[in-house]
């Protein structure tokens, strides 16, 4: 067991854990942040996606030891942002949520994509979501949602980010 200090949704926390414990388990089991989902546990589905220093990662593949000094953003933190509101509005309008199990991961992927590229093309959006599986929607509605959010949230993603 080791102590690890890292940023989580804007706060600095210290946890005592096994160095190889998956970030996903740290979040879900230890910290009870269950918005991040487990769909496969093998890095294939993206349901567990979170931002690590602003980059999209599958938290089932990140060992706790990698967290020291870094910052993690999950849906629990992200849902308080204005960008989330814009995405939420766009997801609602396009019907991008069905069973909802992929949704938190999709939202984090959308944020990662838009902060890199505030004005993506459809191909770029499809590329950006390609690590996140959705079995319900066939993706086009989610792609549309992100294109819509990029338009409606004009300026939100081109500002320096809050990482």
């Amino acid at each position: 067991m080791i102590d690890i200090t890292f940023g989580l949704n804007g706060e600095t926390i210290t946890i005592t854990t096994h160095p190889l414990r998956r970030l996903l388990d740290v979040l879900r089991d230890d910290l009870r942040l269950t918005g991040t989902k487990e769909g496969c546990g093998e890095g294939e589905c993206g349901a567990c996606a979170v931002l690590l220093d602003g980059r999209l990662v599958n938290s089932c593949l990140v060992p706790a030891i990698h967290l020291e000094g870094r910052s993690v953003m999950t849906i629990e933190g992200y849902r308080k942002t204005e960008r989330f509101s814009v995405l939420s509005e766009a997801f609602a309008r396009t019907g991008s949520v069905q069973c909802g199990f992929c949704t938190p991961g999709m939202v984090m992927a959308a944020e990662a994509l838009l902060r890199d590229n505030p004005h993506p093309t459809e191909e770029e959006v499809r590329e950006g979501l390609s690590g996140n599986l959705c079995r319900c929607t066939g993706y086009s509605m989610i792609v549309e949602a992100i294109l819509l959010a990029a338009r409606e949230g004009e300026g939100l993603w081109s500002m320096p980010s809050d990482r």
């Binding site: 269950t34 069905q98 939202v107 390609s130 996140n132």
Partner: protein
């Protein structure tokens, strides 16, 4: 379109979007224990002994000996145990649970359990099952179910025919691959057990609990939690983990959570049935199909499950949307020692549609006829009878569907443009017509399910819907509210509905068979109209039951009459590019036209269309799932490849206006229809690109290479 079709924000949206919706694995209860399942690693064996390591304090084993009632899953044929006892019949069959407070310790204990098996020669495919003469898996036949039905006089037709065409097709497994794996929590409190989790059919689970526990229904409660997709995979299967978790909760006196990991989920849950379908068509001198024989064999796996019902649906769909006066259809669901096949979106329809659409195309080609026109000439019309002799009472708009699909896709034009020769990709385009029967077979909605709904008017003019239909992503928490609100002419926000709970929701049937809107929605609409008449009263309830329409009839012994209360219809066109060097197929265009009656929320319907088509396309060309020696070879999402956002292009679709007079606001079923036509359309496109007959799904670069090497 009607006002009801106007999209509204889903009632389950905010929770899911913000990650606050609590799915089974997100729930933690005080003192909760975790359970993991020990599963058979043999396809067929006697269990000689099971050696369990010493259990630390607080850890438990739960197995068949803990079942106070019957160790048999209550489903069509009662042949499947909840826990294997003395013998196993497939790899992945549950034997026992290890239960305890620490997940890792539970897993470690599980790995240290030794099972001594004595292997028995397994039956591993349909072909092997056909040869079995002794040591049957089930009773004294190599199959669980064998059916046949006929229409007209086939031998007379055969006598008149001038040409006969024969084809054989084969389809593989498909995994539902809901993104949330199976998960159940059971709590035992005050002599009652409450099971909650991921499910499509709370009352199936309730019945399973009653049977396993031998308890009266008052002691059993089932509650759905937000569910991460079902697609049939959470229809009959969750009865197993539900009973397992409940037994563990009763034994330990603590809440028990049983969540599958992905490998386990793929390995041991139900799949779409592999099928072999043979068709033989008799054609007269006017190039008209006058008779057809169809032979179907499906791999049911080790237990009967729902295979009989799937087989029936496949048989009733096997002649497609065509009017063929003389028919003979036979089907067998074979017992093998493969994983149990079961419900998956389409429920036999996708296999049938693939076979008949390929066959129609092949006949037209052999007759040197335009296959689009050839199929049109055989379309069913209102007033015709179905293959089971049921009169089609409502408007069939196949001609409009055909015209519209051609208009939006340019199919006929593209189809005839010569294929580019030489280097570069080869284009192909395919078109499929299809239908899907909505609701239970025959009069099952009334006789088997006895569908009932309850509506309560509360003080303050809110209305509460009580039904057992589950929200599995398809929008039931929104669409049913819309129907009731519109009928009562009240704001939809004043209509309440929660995830179903058997304590207060009557049995309005399972959430399957594209039945929720058309059947349950209609009963709710009628209940709401009753309520409206008494609207001045402050507080009261309306209970209504489904009534089988008087103009339908069904003889279940002979499979004669209206096989389903009503049908939805559609056409798909798929365009592909095939790389002749690698044999890779890229889908470059997808078009769809449906007649689903009135859409109850156009956005939700769009979700059903786009999601269903993606599953159908992937079934046709991506999702390879094979069994070798009874063991599935693809047991994770790296090997079993689901489509990503990059795999398929946008879909262009249209809905035909054709309100169904017996559906709520004119609606018919939609959920399954959308998956059915994609595979034949894609296969026909590949067939054109390759210039060889596609006979097997899925089509992969390897199978295309094989086709190219074949000289036909």
């Amino acid at each position: 379109m009607e006002g009801i079709s106007r999209p509204i924000k889903r009632f389950d949206f905010d929770d899911k979007m913000s990650g606050t919706a609590l799915y089974c694995a997100d729930v933690t209860l005080d003192g909760m224990l975790y359970a993991k399942t020990l599963r058979s690693v043999k396809a067929r064996a006697a269990i000689l002994s099971i050696t369990v390591p010493p259990l630390p304090e607080g850890y438990w084993i739960v197995d068949a000996n803990d079942i106070p009632g019957k160790n048999v899953v209550p489903i069509v044929s009662e042949d499947q145990p909840f826990f294997a006892k003395g013998a196993v019949k497939y790899i992945g069959e549950p034997i026992l649970l290890v239960v305890g407070p620490d997940k890792q310790t539970v897993v470690d204990l599980l790995e240290r359990i030794r099972v001594a098996y004595e292997e028995v020669r397994p039956v591993l495919s349909i072909a092997e099952a056909e040869q079995v003469r002794e040591n049957f898996i089930f009773g004294d036949t190599p199959y669980f179910f064998a059916y046949e039905y006929a229409k007209g006089d086939l031998s007379e037709a055969a006598g008149r025919a001038v040409r006969v065409f024969e084809d054989e097709f084969e389809t593989g497994y498909q995994e539902q691959a809901y993104l949330e794996t199976q998960g159940i929590i059971a709590v035992y409190e005050n002599g009652r057990v409450t099971v909650s989790g991921a499910m499509q059919c709370p009352y199936y689970i309730r019945d399973a609990l009653i049977q396993a526990l031998g308890w009266p229904e008052e002691r059993v409660r089932v509650v759905q939690l937000p569910t991460g997709g079902g697609f049939g995979g959470k229809e009959e299967y969750p009865s197993l983990p539900a009973v397992h978790a409940a037994l563990a909760a009763v034994k330990t006196g603590r809440p028990v959570q049983l969540v599958f990991d992905r490998q386990e989920d793929i390995l041991c849950t139900t799949k779409r049935h592999p099928a072999v379908i043979r068709l033989r068509s008799h054609v007269d001198g006017n190039n008209r199909i006058i008779g057809r024989e169809i032979d179907i064999a499906i791999d049911a796996g080790a237990y009967a499950g729902l295979s009989g019902v799937v087989l029936q649906r496949m048989m009733f769909a096997a002649n497609g949307v065509y009017d063929v006066p003389h028919l003979k259809v036979r089907g067998k669901a074979y017992a093998t020692n493969n994983v149990v096949s079961g419900a998956m979106r389409g429920f036999g329809g996708p296999q049938a549609a693939f076979a008949v659409e390929m066959h129609m195309e092949n006949i037209a080609r052999a007759l040197r006829l335009d296959s689009f026109a050839f199929r049109q000439r055989h379309f069913l019309h209102t007033g015709d009878t179905s293959s089971t002799g049921g009169l089609f009472l409502h408007d069939i708009k196949l001609d409009e569907i055909a015209a519209e699909i051609d208009r939006i896709s340019g199919y006929r034009n593209k189809r005839t443009v010569p294929r580019p020769k030489g280097k570069g990709k080869i284009r192909g385009i395919g078109c499929a017509f299809f239908f899907h029967g909505c609701g239970f077979t025959g009069s099952g909605e009334e006789s088997l399910i006895k569908t009932r709904v309850r509506l309560r008017k509360c003080p303050g003019n809110t209305v509460h819907i009580f039904v057992s239909n589950t929200e599995i992503g398809q929008g039931v928490l929104t669409t049913l509210r819309k129907i009731v609100a519109q009928a009562l002419d009240v704001p939809v926000e004043t209509v309440k509905q929660t995830y179903p709970d058997t304590d207060d929701c009557p049995n309005s049937g399972p959430t399957v068979a594209s039945r929720t809107i058309m059947i349950v929605g209609k009963v709710l609409l009628d209940a709401a109209l009753d309520m409206k008449k008494r609207w001045h009263e402050k507080e009261f309830e309306i209970v209504r039951a489904y009534e089988y329409p008087g103009n339908l009839r069904w003889d279940n012994a002979r499979f004669q009459g209206n096989a389903y209360p009503e049908y939805s219809w559609g056409a798909n066109v798929v365009e592909v590019d095939m790389d002749p060097a690698t044999c890779e197929v890229t889908v470059t265009g997808v078009w769809a036209v449906y007649d689903i009656g009135t859409p109850i929320d156009k956005t939700i319907v769009r979700g059903q269309i786009e999601g269903g088509i993606a599953q159908g396309l992937a079934y046709a060309c991506m999702e390879v799932l094979t069994s070798e020696n009874g063991m599935l070879r693809q047991t994770n999402l790296a090997d079993y490849t689901l489509p990503t956002s990059l795999d398929f292009p946008r879909i262009e679709y249209r809905l035909i206006e054709n309100p169904f007079s017996d559906g709520p606001f004119g609606a018919r079923g939609v959920g399954e229809l959308t998956l059915i036509g994609a595979a034949p359309a894609l296969a026909l496109a590949v067939q054109q690109a390759v210039g060889r007959g596609v006979t097997r799904l899925p089509v992969t670069p390897e199978s295309i290479l094989e086709m190219m090497d074949r000289d036909d």
